[in-house]
């Protein structure tokens, strides 16, 4: 479980971010408070991505497969962070 959670962490954070954003849009609606919440959430998610990326980089790669997994997780965190930023933009810029 832990191994999968690390490998998929970037995408999992993206999913959590997206569905909370959708929940805010659907159930709470547009407004200053919603936008503030979205900005805060986007910031928090980006920070978690950065922290996890740093942690992944520090993990000792034990062998080729271990290194491969870490690289996948790292790239996933990068893609996840970009997607989170992109996903938050409609609310932050509009």
């Amino acid at each position: 479980m832990r191994a999968w959670a690390i490998m998929l962490s970037g995408l999992l954070i993206w999913a959590a971010h997206f569905f909370i954003l959708y929940g805010i849009g659907e159930f709470i609606g547009d407004g200053f408070a919603s936008r503030l919440a979205i900005a805060a959430l986007t910031g928090v998610c980006l920070a978690i991505c950065a922290l996890l990326a740093a942690a992944v980089m520090r993990m000792p790669p034990r062998d080729f497969f271990g290194k491969w997994r870490m690289q996948l997780a790292f790239a996933g965190l990068g893609i996840g962070a970009l997607a989170i930023l992109w996903q938050g933009l409609p609310a932050l810029l509009a």
Binding site: L8, L21, D30, F65, R69, G76, Q87
Partner: protein
């Protein structure tokens, strides 16, 4: 090297073994996995047969839906044609879309998985052969009955996404819509059964040493595909269930006049429907990645990035469902989120396309039939992807919505993303199952006709769409500039059909099924394991995998595998068996005894089909009996499973010993149950979403729910049920004789909690027919009822096994799985009781 399970990787150095293996071992394997004869073809469960039946049936549906497409194109060839009356046209486009999406595209790729994965992973078979057989027969029987509805004028006619209110009883009073709802509901069960098989198969039956980074990209694609089915299909299962209940009993989920909302259907449908496009595309992309490397005679460029792209597509595709609803008046901010995700999802698809182009660029491509189909697929898919990015822009979508521009876009994506890769796969992989390969010369003609036909048919549709031709119209007036593009489209469609016809000719001339060996062999000089010599038992011995393209890196591997120099060169127990390995590094864990042929999967499938069809024509008595027989057949097939063999540990090669029976979270059964519970959990979560959605969109119909206080005894009973279930398993671990008593008590507690919960809602004056809120709450209670009934059945089954002395101590898989299910049902009951009281409190 590190280990995942405690297995010492140094043991791999014992392979290849040196001592010669006796020929009798091969004979014994051939005997155990012998080919069926006569009627036995119906009871076969081996992936070589089921995979082929599955693929053949899916292709048959492609042909049938293709004929419907041609009929439509004839009708649209010129203005005011009278080939198909309007009402029939509605049935024809609905059936065409539905059959293509549900009966061809998803089953075809699932079938390819069942057929190819065991060989690709060097497993003897996937872990649940009978489940595969059930999934196939359910699909085949149900699908053919569903298709037959068109011959009696009862085919559904509300479009492939069946929007209410058009499909509500008021506007579609006949049983046409019920055929769709029940037929599709049923086929989804088969898709989920297949997905469970594929996930557990890919993660647990890979050849030793095939760690995730060495897994063929097709296996990765199938893994993501199956996981997406598990998350996406529950939504449409729930949607079809709710609409059918609304039509049959008047519970107003989608009736805006009574507190329901037709947009709820669109959310539920598209939460499945858009990922469905990627569900179809990903395995096909996996096929392209495999073929492109062989065709270019080089390693796939960007393997790691492609894996990441597959995973990212799997995730992001769940954030795009509402882009089908831009024209419904979603809140602007929400529209923005979905627009952003819709653009983002093209990035992973782009990564794959660039990786394929790079592979072709660095290699020395052979422009054989599979190579041409791959290149054609890239061109067509990219065109469809670009128009996809166009319609992801909301203002453009408002213009193009429901026009022929969308028909063009979706066909470019689906044909480029799935049909061309499938034809590439036919030309590529048929030599691995047939005595003769298909003809490359004919294949090039097939490609030429299909590629030209596809573009001539669908390119002009962009134009007719931009000129204002709406989709789903059976005709149009002259003088609007639509006649020429439509005529050209029709010519193109027939050209495409000519290509498919030529392919059939090629198939008849050259395809000679050779499940028992003697195939054309590795004609493309490919590097992956499915090109090892195989028989019905798959490979003679299961190799240790040390790279992604083992046959390229070790040309002598095939000979050594055939000589039995690796794992499992013989049957260790005299039964069908395969090695179960760990999910990350594929370290050998235990030997799984595989079930053999059985009439029960097909019997269960026929009765399941009978159940659903009887409901459609409102023959409730027959339906009930059929449902009962289906349950009995499933129990009967399970009864023969979960048995220990005499030897507790066996040698699987080179003196390496593994157990023959494993329980708990390491067992394949546990994994399958967890996946099934995720499916059930998703159905339930979508039910909770439906309730919250109706509350937020129809607040004027909302009444205060019963007080939280009343939920306390319900929670206590549910907690007791969970504790009893877990306690029952513990009792067995401690050697107690009657753990099933705890299960029976657990079921009683679950039933009590449900009874209390339902009573409180009824006492508060709620009724399912009265409002959207009542309907949603009682639907959730009904789901819980289904879980409790299933739990009771499982507890009864365990009791029967205990009476027969089949519950082995100190641990037993049937007990484990029942415990998991009961504990899940308790959590579901508890969450439901709290959530329904919280919404609108």
């Amino acid at each position: 090297m590190s280990s995942e399970t405690g297995f010492d990787p140094a043991l791999y150095a014992r392979f290849p073994t040196r001592a010669p293996r006796p020929d009798e071992e091969k004979e014994e394997l051939a005997h155990i996995w012998c080919a069926p004869k006569g009627w036995d073809y119906l009871t076969a469960v081996n992936n070589s047969y089921i995979g082929l039946y599955y693929l053949g049936t899916a292709f048959l549906f492609f042909l049938l839906a293709g004929i419907l497409a041609l009929l439509m194109r004839v009708q649209l060839a010129a203005p005011l044609m009278e080939v198909l009356p309007q009402a029939v046209y509605n049935q024809v486009f609905t059936m065409h879309g539905t059959v293509m999406m549900f009966l061809f595209a998803v089953p075809a790729v699932e079938a390819a998985g069942v057929l190819l994965l065991p060989q690709m992973l060097a497993a003897r078979d996937l872990p649940f052969p009978r489940l595969s057989a059930y999934a196939f027969w359910a699909y085949a029987v149900g699908g053919l009955c569903f298709f037959a509805s068109i011959f009696v004028g009862l085919a559904p006619d509300g479009g492939w996404f069946m929007y209410p209110p058009l499909t509500s009883k008021a506007y579609s009073p006949g049983i046409n819509t019920d055929f769709w709802l029940l037929g599709i509901g049923f086929i989804e069960i088969s898709a989920i059964a297949g997905a469970i098989e594929i996930i557990v198969g890919v993660l647990r039956t890979r050849a030793p040493g095939m760690s995730l980074d060495r897994m063929p990209i097709f296996a990765w694609a199938m893994l993501v595909f199956a996981a997406m089915i598990v998350i996406a299909f529950p939504s449409v299962i729930l949607a079809t269930l709710l609409l059918e209940i609304e039509r049959a009993f008047g519970w107003p989920f989608f009736d805006a006049g009574r507190g329901g909302d037709p947009l709820l259907w669109q959310h539920l449908f598209w939460f499945f429907g858009h990922p469905e496009v990627y569900i179809i595309f990903l395995p096909a992309a996996g096929m392209v990645s495999m073929i492109v490397a062989t065709v270019a005679r080089t390693e796939l460029v960007g393997y790691r990035l492609i894996v990441l792209a597959l995973l990212a597509t799997g995730f992001i595709s769940f954030g795009v469902w509402a882009h089908h609803m831009f024209a419904t008046g979603l809140p602007p901010m929400t529209t923005g989120f979905f627009s952003a995700a819709s653009m983002a999802v093209s990035i992973p698809a782009g990564i794959q396309v660039f990786a394929w182009i790079a592979t072709l660029a660095v290699g020395k491509p052979r422009y054989s039939a599979p190579g041409l189909f791959v290149i054609g697929s890239i061109l067509i898919f990219v065109t469809g992807g670009l128009t996809g990015v166009m319609v992801a822009m909301v203002p453009f979508d408002w213009q193009a919505h429901d026009s022929y521009f969308i028909v063009a876009h979706l066909h470019y994506v689906l044909i480029g993303g799935m049909v061309f890769p499938l034809f590439a796969a036919f030309y590529y992989w048929i030599p691995s199952i047939s005595r003769r390969p298909l003809s490359d010369r004919l294949g090039r003609w097939v490609f030429g006709l299909m590629f030209a036909g596809m573009n001539i048919a669908f390119l002009p549709m962009h134009l007719s769409g931009l000129q204002g031709m709406p989709r789903r119209v059976s005709t149009y007036l002259p003088g609007q500039g639509l006649a020429l593009p439509n005529l050209v489209s029709t010519v193109g469609a027939f050209l495409l059909a000519a290509g498919v016809l030529l392919f059939l000719v090629d198939l008849v001339r050259n395809f000679r099924f050779a499940p028992g060996g003697g195939t054309a062999g590795n004609v493309h000089d490919a590097g992956t394991l499915e090109w090892l010599p195989t028989e019905l038992y798959s490979v003679r011995s299961i190799p240790v995998v040390a790279s992604r393209e083992p046959l390229w890196d070790d040309p002598a591997l095939a000979a050594r595998v055939e000589a039995g120099r690796y794992f499992l060169p013989r049957s260790a127990t005299g039964l069908r068996e395969t090695i179960v390995t760990s999910p990350l590094r594929a370290e050998p864990q235990y030997l799984q005894i595989l079930p053999g042929p059985s009439p029960w999967p097909i019997a269960a499938a026929i009765f399941t089909a009978g159940f659903f069809l009887a409901l459609t024509v409102q023959a409730y008595g027959f339906g009930l009996a059929s449902g009962l027989f289906a349950v009995i057949a499933v129990l009967r097939w399970l009864w023969e499973s979960d048995r220990r063999v005499a030897a507790e540990r066996v040698d699987i090669g080179a003196g390496i010993e593994v157990p023959t029976y494993v329980t708990g979270s390491a067992s394949h059964g546990w994994w399958a149950m967890v996946i099934l519970l995720i499916v059930m959990g998703m159905i339930f979560v979508m039910g909770l979403f439906s309730l919250a959605f109706l509350w937020s969109n129809q607040p004027s119909y909302w009444a205060p729910p019963p007080a939280f206080r009343g939920a306390v005894p319900i929670l206590l009973l549910d907690l007791a049920a969970a504790a009893l279930a877990i306690g029952g398993r513990r009792l067995l671990l401690r050697g107690a004789a009657w753990p099933v008593v705890a299960f029976v008590l657990s079921t009683a507690a679950l039933g009590g909690a449900l009874w209390l919960d339902r009573g409180q809602w009824a006492a508060a004056g709620f009724a399912a027919e009265a409002s959207g809120q009542g309907a949603a709450v009682f639907a959730l209670l009904a789901l819980q009822g289904a879980a409790v009934a299933t739990g009771a059945l499982m507890a009864g089954y365990c009791a029967a096994r205990a009476l027969r002395g089949l519950v082995t101590r100190p641990a037993n898989t049937s007990i484990d799985l029942t415990m998991l299910f009961l504990a899940y049902a308790a959590i579901q009951g508890l969450v439901g009781a709290l959530f329904t009281r919280a919404v609108g409190a």
